[in-house]
Amino acid sequence: MPGGQIHRAPRSPNAPGPDPDGERIRRDLVANRNLIDVRTNTSVWGVFDRKRVCVSDGDASTILTAKQIILAPGAQEYVPPFPGWTLPGVMTAGGAQALLKMTGVAPGRRIVLAGSGPLLLAVAAQMAKLGHQVVSVFQAASRRSWMMLPLRAWQAPQKTLEGMKYFGTLKRTGVKMRYGRMVVSAHGDQRLTGISHAPVDASWRPDLSRTETINADALCISYGLMPRTDLFQIFGCKMRFCEMRGGWHPERDDQLRTSRRDVFAVGDGAGVSGASAAILEGKLAGNAAAHALGACSDACLEGVSRRLGRALRRVHTFGAAINQISYPRAGLLDLVTDDTIVCRCEELMWKEVRTGIEQGGTDFRTLKSATRLGMGPCQAKFCWPSASRQIARLTERAMKEVGPISVRNPIRPISLGALAKKAAVSG
């Protein structure tokens, strides 16, 4: 369904209510059907020769090509492993929010949220407002750094106001905010029954001698988002690394063009900077692509770029201020213990991966061959972000030297039968 994570369409009558912006976007698309070929329930499962785009709606595939391509793949949550994180009852805050938005269902009866960043606040406030019991919210960053935010974010009063509203709701509903603390482990036999939390220093190194434990049956984690890079990588776009933008993301010019003349990158997938930025970026890239095709004059593009560019810089500044507080610090890597699972698909424990690294597996291909890290269904999308940071730490190298995963077709599941069928070619 068009609309993405923000304007996701509700699927159940219990959902918190319609989203007018999302409805408007979907209406506009329908109204312009003659100009826009909208394909729902369709995914790009592969890109061949860096230009043949294979899409599938579950059955046979179609191969598309285009003169200008805009990629808006969005982001996924960064989930650093810690002891107990694979227990049922532990989930991402984004996952819990999606569930809440679509069905109105809360993940548990005693909910703890933990991590860093504004999503925790938003989700906690939404839950509390609907009457669910949120026991505590743990923010790894200090209270002081949050207090400074309005100063840094004066350019985006709207956003600051929104944040204040969340804080207000949490205060009213009695949700405990704990700053400078991290959930260091989750406990339970079959499923989650409790969590331990401890104070952390400026680089988020926990002081485990001051651990406290509380009961909980749901733990929602959020340590920020990371761009989904698979499409960019498979199109051959140059990538760069910046912790503040969520890690690996494509290089772009002022018009949001990647290292390829015909490929644009917009939204959180191009470097995390939030929903308002994504909308502006979409407009700018749309105009630039139209310009490249001769459908928008130089003057027109210039005007649009100037206007949107200014607005974009403002929201990016706000995004940067938020990211500055919440981007994942090195101490997070201290949470893993030898028997913490670090690759969920292959059920690999940290000691196995650590040995692989110590025996020279300091690049993706070598470590993967040595340990099977990332060989499961997620194809390293979830384990490599933390594994590569561990490599960087152990080998004292920069993340850009360690490198991103290598992306291969298919980037979404496709059956052998669907591949074997003759594809239609269009576009």
Binding site: R408, P413, S415, A420
Partner: protein, 416 residues
């Protein structure tokens, strides 16, 4: 900072690690340098140990595509020397697997009794197969013809559209990634040094001898340098103006999701091969292409592989693909490995050219290279594999030709 060792091995694929381990076992100080480039063959490999199937051209179906077209009376000139090398190396896995387990705790998943089944879809394929069986002397320890009933009773996943199959009972499989890693770790345990993520940028010479290598992590010195750089071996040799006719030969593979159901055998057909690894994934390979160092995959070729797999095992139709990839085999014009001393530079040795059977041949080839370098009596003569045989031989031009460069009965192998 200068790092010095008795031996420098460049490339930590299965050949380089096998060589490093053999040196380390003999107490030499070894440094193993590797850049792990995209296209590294060992990381891409299927891990079939198809000593006989590959020797007679029925292992890697796509290459011998033309089992259909080959005249049914004349068997291809099959390289006996090649077969003896593979057979002897394949035998070594029975000891190597427990040895590596002991040394490193790693199980290389060397299967016993899986065997390889070459499926016969029509009469021509059967006639062709029969001529091969005759050539093998109807030795059931090597290969045996199975009728349709036996094939279907053995593994009901196989299409009932077969006439029968040729069964190669000794052609099993291994996990090539774990084999590679275990060899490396075993060498490290015996004192070898591993420099991962390190790119050799130049070979250093003085007085007609190699003195060491320059890398992205500094200079490494040694009195003996082994070129185990796989498909990049000729590039490495070129750094000191040596020329060997070795080229990258790309192979594409499809890997599926993990399946609970187990296939009973490795399978090959005229279209592709299919093998299920210990972790449950099914690998479907492979193409044989001369496209330089391009490590991409091609839609049409993958489609052909998928069709070939479904033709053999219809239930694969609904199985999801997890990943597709390609690797670069180090290919030589006579399809034999390149082992031992370079003709011009006495302390520069080769350990490469594994081509499409580099996994199965690695244990023996590693031993041969080391024995040659240290002046020991080898298990088998290294002469046919020495790089000097290339004097005047042109590069591999295209890969579908039968293996005619080798005389069927050249150089009788010594017993192992």
């Amino acid at each position: 900072m200068k790092k010095t060792s008795d031996v420098l091995v460049i490339g930590a694929g299965v050949y380089g690690t096998s060589v490093a381990y053999s040196f380390a076992k003999r107490g030499c100080s070894v440094t193993l340098i590797d850049a792990s480039k995209p296209g590294k063959a060992t990381a891409a490999s299927a891990g079939g140990l198809w000593a006989i199937g590959e020797s007679v051209g029925l292992g890697c179906g796509v290459i011998f595509h033309n089992a259909d077209e080959v005249s049914s009376t004349e068997p291809e000139p099959v390289p006996r020397l090649f077969m003896h090398l593979l057979k002897a190396s394949n035998k070594m896995f029975a000891e190597l697997a427990p040895e590596l387990l002991l040394q490193t705790g790693m199980d290389i998943e060397a299967e016993v009794g899986t065997g390889l089944l070459y499926l016969l879809y029509n009469g021509r394929q059967r006639r062709h197969a029969q001529s091969i069986l005759d050539w093998l002397g109807r030795d059931q320890a090597l290969a045996e013809e199975w009728d349709r009933q036996r094939v279907l009773a053995h593994d009901p996943h196989i299409t009932d559209d077969v006439l029968g199959a040729v069964h190669f009972p000794g052609d099993n499989q291994v996990n090539p990634l774990f084999l590679n890693e275990a060899l490396k770790r075993a060498a490290i345990n015996l004192g070898a040094r591993f420099a991962g993520d390190t790119h050799v940028t130049d070979l250093l010479m003085a007085d007609g001898k190699i003195t060491g290598v320059a890398t992205t992590q500094g200079v490494f010195c040694s009195g003996l340098v082994i070129n185990a750089a796989g498909a990049w071996a000729a590039k490495l040799a070129n750094m000191i103006d040596q020329d060997i006719p070795l080229v990258p030969v790309r192979g594409q593979i499809i890997g599926t999701e993990t399946l609970q159901d187990k296939l009973k055998s490795n399978i090959s057909t005229v279209d592709c091969y299919i093998l299920q690894k210990a972790h449950g994934e099914v690998l479907i390979g492979s193409t044989t292409e001369m496209v330089g160092f391009d490590t991409g995959v091609n839609y049409e070729m993958l489609t052909d592989l998928a069709r070939g797999a479904i033709r053999a095992i219809p239930a694969l139709e609904r199985v999801n693909i997890k990943r597709t990839w390609s690797g670069l085999r180090p290919g030589t014009p006579d399809e034999l490995p390149v082992l031992g001393q370079s003709p011009e530079i006495a302390n520069f040795h080769y350990a490469t050219g594994g081509f499409r059977t580099g996994i199965v041949s690695a244990p023996l080839c590693g031993e041969l290279v080391v024995a040659n370098a240290l002046g020991e009596k080898p298990r088998m003569s290294i002469n046919p594999f020495l790089p000097r045989r290339f004097n005047g031989l042109p590069k591999l031009k295209h890969v579908k030709t039968p293996r005619s460069a080798i005389q069927p009965d050249a150089a009788p192998p010594q017993s192992v």
